[in-house]
Amino acid sequence: MSRQKNQSDQQVAQQVQKLNEELKGTPVSPNLADNVQTLKSLFDKDDTFLVREVQNQKDPAQQYVVAYCAGMIDNGFVSENIIWPLTYSEPNTTEENLLDAVARQVLLVHNPTPIESFQQVVEAVTYGDSVLFVPGENKALTLSTQGFPLRGVSEPNGEIALSGPKEGFGESLILNLAFLHRRLRTHDLKMEMRSFGVRSRTQACICYLDSLVNRPALEELLRRLDSIEIDGVLDSNYLNELIRDNPLSPFRSTGYTERPDVVVGKLLEGRIAIVLDGTPVVLTIPYLFIENFQSNEDYYLSFYYTSFSRMLRMVGFLLSILTPSLYLVVTTYHYELLPTSLLLNIASERLNVPFPMALELLLMLVMFDILRETGVRMTSGVGQAMSVVGALVLGSAAVDAKIVSSLVIIMVALTGITSLLVPKLNTPTLMARMFLFVFAAFGGFPGLTMGCAFLLIHMLRLKSFGLWQISPTGDLQYQQFKDIGFRAPLWQMRQRPAAIASQLTRLRPAKRRWWN
C-alpha cells in the first residue's frame, strides 16, 4: 500500500514538474502564427479565451495578435486604448524595434511589460491582462486591462469598529496594496511579490518597513514560504497552516485581519504582512498571544474605556474556558465550597434531572455550538429565527421537561457569550474548554488544576517565527507593559515592542500633553 502510494505521489510530482517546465521552457516565437497555435493548444476547450488579430490600416503588412480572456478585461478600455491605436497608428521604428515602438508610441496603457515565456503569458491572461504579440519579436507585451468584477470597499463583518476607519480589504491584491500605500507614504515600505500554488499561481505580497522589520523573523518567513509546494492557494489560511510554528496547536502563530489600519499599525511595530490575491484576509507575523485581546479601536477610543474593555476580554476568555469546568467541579466533587443557600438551590433544581451533571453540561455545550453554527451558516433571516427558536426550545422547554436544570442553561449561556468577546480565540477557547472539562469531570479540582497546568505549559511554549508568544522579552520593562493588560495613553507609549522591532525600539518621543 505504501509502495503504491509512493509511486502515485511520484507520478503526480513528475506531472506537475513537467507542466511547469514545459511552460517555462516554451518561449514566445517571432512568428505570429506559431504563437497563435501555441495559445490555442494551451487554451484548448477554454471558450473564454480569445485571440484577436489586428491589422494596421495604414500598413496592412503590420499585423498583431491580442490575447485575453473574456469577462476578465475591460472591453471598452481594450477597444479604445489597444485595438484602435494598433489599427490606426503607425509606429516609427527607425530608432527602436517594433515592440518598443508600439509600447511607447501606440499603446495607451500604463506599464506595458515585455515577457518571454508562455508561462508568463498564461499568468497574465488568466489575471485579466491582455498580451500583445508582435511579429518578428521573441517577446510579447502584457497590458494591464483588468476589468473583472470586484466587491466594493466595505467594513469587514468580523471587525466592526465603533470609531475609526470603516475600510476593509477586498479580493484584489493591487487594491489592497493601494490601501497600505495610502497610509504609509514612505519609500521604506517594501513590497515583495511572490506567487504560490503550482496551478493557481496566486499572487502574494510580503510587506514590511525596511528600517523597522524584525530581520530574523523575515528571513524565517521567507524560508518557510519558499518551501511551500501546493496545487493552489485560495485563502490566507492555506499559507497560515503551511507556515505556522506548531501545526497541531489550536493557538495561532500568525495574526489575521481585514482592516488596512490594523495592518499599518502592525507594520509600524516591525511586523510583516502577507497580502494574498483573492482574499481580504491579510496575515501578520510575528504574532504575540496578547494580540488576541487587542482590537483596532483600542487606539481610537479613550484609553480608560479601552483598558477596561481589554481586561474584560481577558476575563471573558478565562470565564469561557473555565466556567463549565468550575461549575462541574463544585457541584460534583467540592460541594463545601458553595454557600449553603446556593447549594440548596442547585440541589433542588437538579432533583429530578435524569442525567449526570457532566453529561448535562456536555449536551448543552454541544447544543449551543450547534445553534451558533446554524446561525452563521443559514441565510440571515432564517439563521436568526433558528437561533431564537433553538434557544427558546432548548432553554425553556428542556428545563420544564426536567432534562436539564436551569443553572446549567445559565452557565452554558455565560460560556457562550463570553467566548464571543474574543473571536480570535474561538478555536483555542473551544478546545481548551473541552480539554479542561474532561480533566474536571474525572479529577475534580486536582484534575482541573492539572489540566490548567498542561494548558499553561503548552501556551508558554508557543512561538511565532522565533519569538515566544507569551513572554517575548524575558526581562520586565515598564515600557513593554503599556499595551498588554491595559492601553496606556499614546503619549506614554514611547517604545515599540522590543522583541519585534529589533532594529529601532524607540519611537519618536511624544511629549506629555499638558497644555494648561
Partner: protein, 374 residues
C-alpha cells in the same frame, strides 16, 4: 522515560484515581444540624435534613430523622436501613447537645467529631435547656424555617453584636476544655411556643461547664456583665439610678477595658477586676445640666456603682451555682504565675472557691460637652 510518555501517564493516573469521588447532588441528603440526646441504647441522634422536594415549591424546608446507637457513629450507621441516600455534612452548621448529655461530659463526643473527616471543625455547638435537644431541631426559627440555620445565624448575630463567647466551634470547645483554668461556655437555646401552631427557638443565656460537664446556666441578663469581666464586651446599654432623686438614666457603653489582677495575701488569694468604661448618655435625666462638672461626676459615679453592683451580683450568682472559677481567675494565674498555679491546682474546689473577688469600676461620659482639662 521519554517526556512524551509522562503526560499521558499522568492523565491515566488521573483517570484511575480521581473519578471515584464523583457524586451527584441528588445522591445526597443535606444535613442542616444534629441534635444529641441520651437514650436507653446510649445516644439518640436527630438529624435535620433539608427537604429538597418541598423546597422547590415553597422555600427551604426540613424534616427530622432520629437514629439510636451505643455511640454517635453507631447511631449514624443506622441511617443505611432508613434512608436511601448518603448524608452530606459539609453544610451542617450546628450541633445541639441535650441537657443530660452535657451533664455527663462531652469531651469524648468532641473528640469523635474532630476525628470524623466529614464533620467540619467549625460547626457551632449549643446546649438545649429543654428536655431534649431533638425539640430544638423540630422547632423552627422565627424568620427562618430551618431550625439549624436559624440557630446558627442567631448565634453569629449575637456574636457580632456582643463579641464572644456565643460562637463556639468544636475545636474552640476542645481547646477550652484542655486549657488549664478555663471554663468552657456554650450558648444555651430553648424552644418556646409562640402560638398554638408554632414552636420557635431562641437563645437563652450561656451554659457553663466545669471541666467537660455542664455545671449551670448563666441567664441572658448576666451575659453583658460576664463579658465586662472578661474584657470582651462590644457595647451595652447600662441602666442606672441617680441615688438622690431616684431617677433612671441609661448610658450606652461603647468602650470598655478590664484590667484583671490578682495578689496573694498569705494563703488567701484576692482577685481584682478593674473596669474602665466609656459611653454616651442615651437617656439623660430631665433638667440636668451636663455642663456642670459636678453633675457629670455624679452621673458617672451612679453609672459606675450600678455596673459594680451588677458585677458583684453576677459573681455571687456564679458562686451560688458552685462555680469556683468565676470570671476564669484560675486561667489568669495559670498564665501569669506558674508557681502559684501549681500550688492551687491540686486544691479542692471548695478550697479554691475562697478567692476574694473585688470589682472596681470607672465610667466616663463622653458626650457631656465639657472640654477636658478645663
Amino acid at each position: 522515560m521519554k517526556p512524551k510518555l509522562i503526560a499521558p501517564m499522568l492523565c491515566l493516573l488521573l483517570l484511575l484515581s480521581g473519578c471515584g469521588n464523583y457524586r451527584e447532588l441528588n445522591e445526597f441528603d443535606i444535613v442542616a444540624g444534629m441534635a444529641i440526646d441520651q437514650s436507653r441504647e446510649g445516644y439518640k441522634v436527630t438529624l435535620e435534613l433539608i427537604d429538597l422536594e418541598g423546597s422547590l415549591q415553597e422555600g427551604i424546608k426540613s424534616y427530622p430523622v432520629s437514629l439510636e446507637g451505643a455511640t454517635v457513629p453507631q447511631a449514624l450507621e443506622q441511617a443505611k436501613s432508613k434512608l436511601s441516600r448518603q448524608f452530606h455534612y459539609g453544610n451542617m452548621e450546628v450541633i445541639v447537645l441535650g441537657h443530660q448529655v452535657a451533664e455527663q461530659g462531652i469531651a469524648s463526643l468532641l473528640d469523635g467529631f474532630l476525628r470524623d473527616v466529614n464533620i467540619r471543625e467549625t460547626i457551632q455547638l449549643a446546649v438545649s435547656l429543654g428536655d431534649t435537644a431533638e425539640e430544638i431541631l423540630s422547632a423552627k426559627g422565627r424568620d427562618l424555617s430551618v431550625a439549624s440555620y436559624a440557630l446558627s445565624k442567631m448565634i453569629a448575630h449575637a456574636n457580632d453584636t456582643q463579641l464572644q463567647p456565643r460562637e463556639v466551634s468544636i475545636y474552640n470547645a476542645l481547646d477550652a476544655l484542655q486549657t488549664p483554668g478555663k471554663s468552657l461556655i456554650l450558648p444555651a437555646v430553648k424552644a418556646e411556643q409562640t402560638n398554638q401552631e408554632d414552636v420557635c427557638i431562641q437563645l437563652e443565656g450561656l451554659a457553663v461547664f466545669e471541666q467537660d460537664s455542664l455545671s449551670y446556666t448563666l441567664p441572658e441578663a448576666y451575659i453583658p456583665f460576664y463579658l465586662f469581666g472578661a474584657g470582651r464586651l462590644g457595647s451595652h446599654d447600662l441602666a442606672f439610678e441617680l441615688p438622690e432623686s431616684g431617677e433612671k438614666s441609661t448610658i450606652h457603653i461603647t468602650q470598655s477595658k478590664t484590667k484583671r489582677s490578682f495578689w496573694q495575701e498569705g494563703e488567701h488569694i484576692a482577685f481584682l477586676l478593674d473596669i474602665r468604661a466609656k459611653g454616651q448618655l442615651d437617656q439623660a435625666v430631665a433638667g440636668v445640666d451636663l455642663r456642670d462638672p459636678s453633675v457629670k461626676a455624679a452621673l458617672e459615679q451612679a453609672a459606675a456603682q450600678a455596673l459594680r453592683d451588677r458585677m458583684l451580683e453576677l459573681l455571687d450568682y456564679q458562686r451560688q451555682q458552685g462555680d469556683a472559677n468565676a470570671a476564669d481567675w484560675e486561667h489568669d494565674i495559670y498564665m501569669k504565675d506558674g508557681s502559684l498555679w501549681e500550688a492551687i491546682e491540686s486544691k479542692s474546689k471548695e478550697a479554691r472557691s475562697g478567692v476574694t473577688m473585688e470589682v472596681n469600676v470607672t465610667v466616663e461620659i463622653l458626650d457631656s460637652g465639657i472640654v477636658r482639662g478645663v
